[in-house]
């Protein structure tokens, strides 16, 4: 079993009485690319600051490389941070910025110079050593910030929305570069973003955060295909949430009634009478007049809209709920107003809530 390089144990933190982190725990293996994904205000930056030592948790422990560092100041931790706005020292040139941590360690000048050159070539900024931060573009500053944070070979690199200030094209390019850099260096990355595409694209492990808690921790595929909570389903991708009551439970399968007369088949073991909520991805739903998988709902097509690459269709169910469906075909054979059968493979639907009493929510 690979060794855990970072463990967060039941971290609590509040500011002025407002709870920001409500008991989070996480274990990160060496060499992983871990992303904390969540909306602004969900506590992801605070989590990062606690790992860096810039903030003290009210409760809980931070274990780094087997040692408890909870009470250690940031300068004593083998962790470095790429700050959100890079925080390059404006009065130092690129070389001095990158060399700062090495100089604090009293390395010899030729050792420092060699290392800075090496780092500049890693981030593809050879020859930029004498520039001042103000003379660099956003993307270049970002590379300098990464080089500066890597200078002392940290066990863990923390990145706080490092691509947030860049335009979309540069973002995509930097995503690829960052991921390649992480694999090349073999350093563990803990990466913060509110951008689901970024998270899915780069991570080995995603921790979906909301309201100071982890909603779900898993691989990108897990998170996308098998969301564990309603929030995880809705924050990432386009999901349809359907609620119903289990009417008939069989071995590994159940008939769930959404409203009288409308049933869907759900995989899993349930008890009759149980309330459940299902998440089905918009691109996994099909419609037409030849339902497969042994069940279908009946709905009226309300609207088609072509959004480039995919056709987005809204279908109104008898329950009044609107389903959002995306299909690769830019033209639909069923015009708006048609009544169609709506169906999906029960294997692609994820149960995101169960056991709630009737009437809740």
């Amino acid at each position: 079993m690979p060794q855990s390089i970072l463990t967060l144990q039941n971290i609590h933190k509040s500011f002025d009485g407002a709870t920001v982190l409500d008991g989070i725990s996480l274990s990160v293996e060496a060499g992983q690319f871990v992303t904390l994904l969540g909306p602004s205000g969900c506590g992801k930056t605070t989590t990062l600051r606690i790992i860096a030592g810039l903030e003290q948790p009210d409760e809980g422990a931070v274990i780094l490389g087997g040692a408890d560092v909870t009470r250690l100041p940031p300068e004593k931790r083998a962790v470095n941070t790429v700050f959100q706005n890079y925080a390059l020292f404006p009065h130092m040139n690129v070389h001095r910025n990158i060399a700062y941590s090495l100089r604090l360690r009293r390395e010899k000048k030729d050792v420092i110079d060699k290392r800075v050159e090496e780092l500049l070539s890693i981030v593809q900024l050879e020859g930029y050593g004498r520039r001042m931060p103000a003379q660099l573009s956003g993307g270049q500053r970002q590379r300098v910030a990464i080089a500066r944070a890597l200078a002392c070979d940290p066990q863990l690199l923390l990145l706080d929305e490092p691509l947030g200030a860049l335009d979309l094209q540069l973002r995509r390019q930097m995503q690829v570069e960052l991921k390649a850099l992480q694999q090349k260096l073999g350093i563990t990355f803990i990466y913060i973003t509110h951008d689901q595409e970024e998270a899915l694209n780069m991570s080995d492990l995603i921790a979906v955060m909301n309201g100071g808690r982890f909603e779900q921790i898993g691989s990108p595929e897990d998170i996308y295909e098998r969301p564990a909570t309603r929030f995880a389903a809705q924050f990432i991708g386009q999901s349809n949430i359907l609620e119903g009551t289990v009417k008939q439970a069989m071995e590994g399968r159940a008939q769930v009634e959404l409203c009288p007369g409308n049933f869907v088949t759900v995989n899993g073991d349930f008890a009759p009478g149980e309330r459940i909520a299902l998440s089905v991805r918009a691109e996994r739903i099909d419609y037409g007049n030849a339902a497969q998988y042994g069940f279908h709902l009946t709905g009226a097509i309300k609207l088609h809209s072509y959004i480039g690459g995919v056709l987005r269709t809204t279908i109104t169910l008898p329950t009044g709920q609107e389903l959002l469906i995306t299909g690769a075909n830019p033209v639909s054979t069923y015009p708006a107003g048609c009544t169609v059968q709506v169906f999906w493979d029960p294997a692609v639907a994820a149960v995101v809530e169960r056991g709630r009493a009737q009437g809740a929510r």
């Binding site: 300068e75 470095n80 941070t81 706005n85 020292f89």
Partner: protein, 260 residues
């Protein structure tokens, strides 16, 4: 609309400038007058020559420089330390401290002067350079304090955090990062304080001793004998010094704004 009124607004600006700078210009002009009396008798540097030969004036100039430099140095230390300390305190305390520290700037100088006079008398401190320095430090501190404090307030805390993250102790981060980033503010505050100290009459008048005449006090006492061209020459030199300090101040403000 703008076009139509432009000659009028230009005239207005010209009048304001004339009103402000004509007296100064005349003093400067007359410092180069060859005649001792009000009539114009051609250019001459004789009054400057005479000034340089006046031991009393040179001594008071020396006093003034000593006073301005030492009170500036002391207020840099106190004002900067105060601003840095305040930036780390709770924001409610900050508001209170900020207002209290502004008071010496707002109070009429004559009240401050009287306060120092009675304070030093009660303590039985003999009047002289020491009392001058103490008094000047108190009214110089706010200029440094306010400048540094506003710079610190606008400083992204991420700079210091980045330094800490890279291995600097809090003290080291202060010297490597905070101080260089606030130093333009310290300098610009110090220049302003220097100018204020150099031309202070009222407060100095109350706390000076017999041997510690400052330049402005010297000018004041010379005026009792009437306005001589020598005074004009002295005023011109002081003006030059003050303008130089203010010019430097403006330049630094620009640098500061560019950095921020």
């Amino acid at each position: 609309m703008m076009k139509k009124n432009s000659w009028r607004s230009r005239l207005f600006v010209a009048l304001v400038l004339l009103f402000n700078y004509l007296p100064i210009f005349i003093v400067v002009l007359y410092s180069f007058n060859a005649s001792k009396y009000g009539n114009w008798a051609g250019l001459s540097l004789q009054w400057y020559e005479k000034l340089m030969g006046n031991a009393q004036i040179l001594r008071s100039l020396k006093n003034s420089l000593l006073l301005a430099f030492s009170s500036c140095a002391l207020s840099i230390l106190i004002g900067t330390a105060g601003a840095v300390g305040m930036a780390r305190s709770h924001f409610r305390t900050q508001n209170l401290l900020e207002n209290v520290s502004m008071i010496p700037m707002m109070l009429p100088e004559i009240i401050l002067g009287m306060a120092y006079l009675s304070f030093f008398s009660i303590l039985k401190v003999s009047f002289g350079m020491v009392t001058l320095i103490i008094a000047h430090v108190t009214f110089c501190i706010p200029y440094i304090f306010i400048n540094v404090q506003s710079r610190l307030a606008g400083l992204d805390p991420a700079y210091v955090e980045a330094a800490r993250d890279l291995g600097a102790s809090p003290t080291r981060a202060f010297w490597d990062v905070t101080l260089p980033l606030i130093s333009p503010a310290i300098t610009s505050g110090a220049l302003l304080a220097f100018a204020m100290s150099m031309d202070d009459v009222v407060i100095s008048f109350f706390v000076t001793g017999t041997t510690s005449n400052t330049l402005p006090l010297q000018v004041y006492s010379m005026l009792k004998m009437g306005v001589t061209p020598e005074v004009n020459a002295l005023c011109t030199l002081m003006l030059l010094a003050v303008f130089a300090a203010l010019g430097l101040y403006a330049l630094l403000r620009r640098v500061l704004r560019k950095r921020a």
